[in-house]
Amino acid sequence: MPEQVPILVESLSKTFRIGFERKVVDAVHNVSFAVPAGEIFGFLGPNGAGKTTTIKMCMDLIRPTSGAIRIFGRTPSDIDARARIGYLPEQPYFYDYLTPTELLDFFGRLYGMPSAELAKRIDEVLDLVGLSHARTRTLRKFSKGMLQRAALAQALLSHPDLVVLDEPMSGLDPIGRKEFKDIILSLRSRGCTVFFSSHILADVELLCDKIAIIDHGKLRFSGATRDFLSQGQAEVEVIASNVPEQALVAITPHVRSSERIGTTLKLLLDKQRVADVLAKLMESKAEIVSVVPRSETLEEIFFRTATGRPGANAAAKLPGGVPGGGAA
């Protein structure tokens, strides 16, 4: 059974000693999760949460202080395990004196790919990531988005069984993000497992079958995305106009939040309070414009659980600032 699990992380911890005083920092503390085969697994957390450190331990770039990682049942230091992985590092850097074709040729040789197959595969992946037009240009002339595409190309080069992507959407424009999402979905459809970290929670919600959330080096949640979303509070958005002052005072205790835009009032209520509030608004002759039920998004639940504050207001309190900003 463990041989089938692409990534199995058990009680993983990493401690760094930093600065002149060798101050101890627990970057990752007792983290356990499993990434099942053939699924898209999202790894979330604010800046400095320990996402990249965990991913680097999975890639054998950092050695754990304690705990264990198994990649298809093998340790990350086993090159047979890494032969089955395609990895896109956070803020990828490559040999800028090479063209993308030369870069992929070099990496393909490290995977032991035969020359004829490699040449064909290089054409395929460059076409897939939209870099065919720039195949003879050196990487130092690439934009950030183009480098990200080259990074994805090298991650997909060897037909990996597992793709590990650290902030893959970073530096991409909306079209690029859409194309990356389509590629990630197509990988799953051909049986490839995708493990990726992201700050862009809307993408995670859209793509991931399962997620793990890490904060301050500790695992906060690991499981199905729908289970995490079910923790969200169901609420109703009511928009009304011409609400008299007395009615506003009467409904205030029942309202979770409100926002006034000119004569229009936008209210967010718990589902159970809707009947009372609507009755009071109608009594006061206010005009009901719309009543829309809505669920909290992954982003809103994430912020609420991470900060104890609701929705977007909480975003500013996160170490990373705005949602989707910064690096882990």
Binding site: K56, I79, A83, P89, P92, F107, L110, Y111
Partner: protein, 265 residues
């Protein structure tokens, strides 16, 4: 084993390509060629019977000196740049052993040194042909021995850069080079019944340690034999290269061990 060789070859080829496209390396090579050509000018400044000696001595010295500078600069920068530019993340996540990275980088650097020595030796020969001097087989042996020395110095640079900063690595490597050139004299002093180590016996253990640990780089310097036309045998060249190979092997094993323990944060 074949797979390892193929990966090491790929890394070495990439390293060689990197150096060829690097302006620093090309600048060093042009500087070295200019120095060789300087021996032409220097030879004009001496009396006739010393002309040949100047071209022989300075030519060989410049090949060795420029080679050592290139070995230190390239050796130190190769690993450092990989870490500084974070290209190491993409590389080491591939199915390669960390020792293959060290050996591949070293092999690529050695290819660069061979190319550099070949170009400079060609310039040296050209200068001698211009001056109408005979080309002797010893010149080839001397250049091969210079390459033996560069192989050791390059391995020292790779070792230090596997765990230290480039400036410190450069200083340490240059220090090893200087001490390596002095090992023969220190050994002579230790054996002598008079001199520094007789007057200050407390220095003897340190001097003995230097002699035992540091490579004796003077074995690769046959400029005196060339100038005085003392024959250099292929047996001597072979033994010296075997001596260099032993040091290179030990240094690369230590570098690989140091590198295998590193975290790439």
């Amino acid at each position: 084993m074949t797979a390892s060789l193929s990966r090491v070859t790929a890394i070495a080829t990439n390293t060689f390509k990197e150096a060829l496209r690097n302006r620093v390396f090309l600048g060093l090579l042009i500087g070295a060629l200019a120095m060789i050509l300087c021996s032409l000018i220097l030879s004009q400044m001496v009396v006739f019977d010393q002309e040949r000696r100047v071209v022989q001595d300075f030519g060989l010295f410049f090949i060795s000196f420029a080679g050592v500078v290139i070995a230190i600069v390239v050796g130190v920068l190769l690993v450092y740049k990989e870490l500084q530019l974070k290209t190491i993340y993409s590389l080491l996540s591939k199915p390669i052993h960390r020792w293959e990275f060290i050996v591949g980088r070293y092999a690529g650097m050695f290819l660069i040194l061979v190319l550099m020595a070949a170009i400079m030796a060609s310039a040296w020969v050209a200068v001698m042909l211009v001056k109408g001097m005979p080309i002797l087989p010893q010149y080839g042996m001397a250049v091969i021995l210079v390459l033996g020395e560069l192989a050791v110095v390059g391995a020292v640079a790779i070792l230090f850069s596997s765990f230290s900063t480039p400036i410190l690595s450069g200083i340490f490597t240059f220090g090893v080079f200087v001490l390596g050139r002095l090992v023969y004299f220190i050994d002579e002093l230790l054996r002598a019944g008079k001199g520094l180590f007789v007057e200050a016996p407390s220095l003897r253990p340190l001097a003995r340690a230097v002699v035992q640990v540091f490579p004796d780089l003077s074995v690769f310097d046959v400029s005196r034999e060339i100038v005085l036309e003392i024959p250099v045998t292929w047996t001597y060249v072979g033994e010296s290269l075997a001596y260099a190979a032993c040091y290179v092997l030990i240094l690369l094993v230590i570098a690989a061990l140091a590198f295998s323990r590193r975290d790439f944060v």
